[in-house]
Symmetry: C2
Subunit: 145 residues, 2 copies
DNA sequence: TATTGTTATACTCTATAACTATA
DNA sequence: TATAGTTATAGAGTATAACAATA
């Protein structure tokens, strides 16, 4: 009767397409550029302002240990800096350095720009609207799992 | 009128939602279910019919060696079978077994999946149609990057 | 010589467990 | 006892390099 897709079909289709897209995004990694998790953490730190490793880990939905590794890499490249919280000796407060902010600008042009280029070249406005409408649904789905 | 989303917005939105969703899909690993690459390969093999490991690797945009590992896991679970190509002794032809098809088609199996469960619980039929429509677009995007 | 597939090895990203320091 | 962070280790998923078999 109705053409409502059954949830199994939708789930299967999404798994295939999401896997493909993520792999491509990771493969685009270039010498000297940030990795995907590094970029993600740096962007979030820049947007949200100084915060702690644990807080960043929660936002990115990964373990504090994993976030620690990512942050160590960012610090080693001088893109973030750490200082102890004066109120609480257990805490460390992270902030983006000037170099980090510069890198972010390059970064957006490099990766997001590449995605944007592919979208512009190969998709109609109607298709772009479809993708735009799907994005928040995907995000909601990620939080519902 | 011009509500056409600009490509930069779409790119940014997709990147965030895809990253989050992928992480959740990998984190929530359920006993007995397929991993993401396994599921992706099996779905594709079922859709496209019998083919070779190299061809599957190309479609999934990963190396033949990586696809080999995934296929070995699927074969070990009896979900795909391999036979030599009679015309070309170098080639191996893969096909989905009955068990593999059951895994893909069985509604109870599909419903038991983490993704499908979340879809069923939290999304309207209209939203499911939106997600279903977005899947091939995401796939095309992955190939266009 | 080129192609298909396999084996060996390593890197990235993530996890869990166990630890230290501070609250 | 609870929390923030670190260190150690492991596993999944991917890559490249080197190889064997076949064309």
């Amino acid at each position: 009767m109705s053409e409502d897709p059954n949830v199994g079909q939708v789930a299967a289709a999404l798994r295939v397409s999401i896997g493909l897209l993520l792999r491509r995004l990771r493969q685009v990694r270039v010498e000297g550029e940030l990795t995907l998790p590094e970029s993600s953490a740096l962007v979030r730190l820049d947007r949200g302002g100084p915060t702690t490793p644990s807080e960043l880990a929660k936002l990115e939905q990964i373990s504090p240990q994993s976030m620690g590794a990512t942050l160590a890499a960012l610090q080693a490249r001088g893109l973030v800096e750490r200082r102890p919280d004066p109120q609480d000796g257990r805490r460390v407060v992270l902030s983006v350095t000037g170099a980090g902010r510069d890198m972010l600008l390059d970064k957006r042009n490099a990766r997001a720009g590449q995605l944007a280029q592919a979208l512009e070249a190969g998709f109609t406005p109607a298709e772009l609207r479809q993708l735009m409408a799907a994005a928040p649904l995907l995000e909601r789905l990620a939080q519902a799992i």
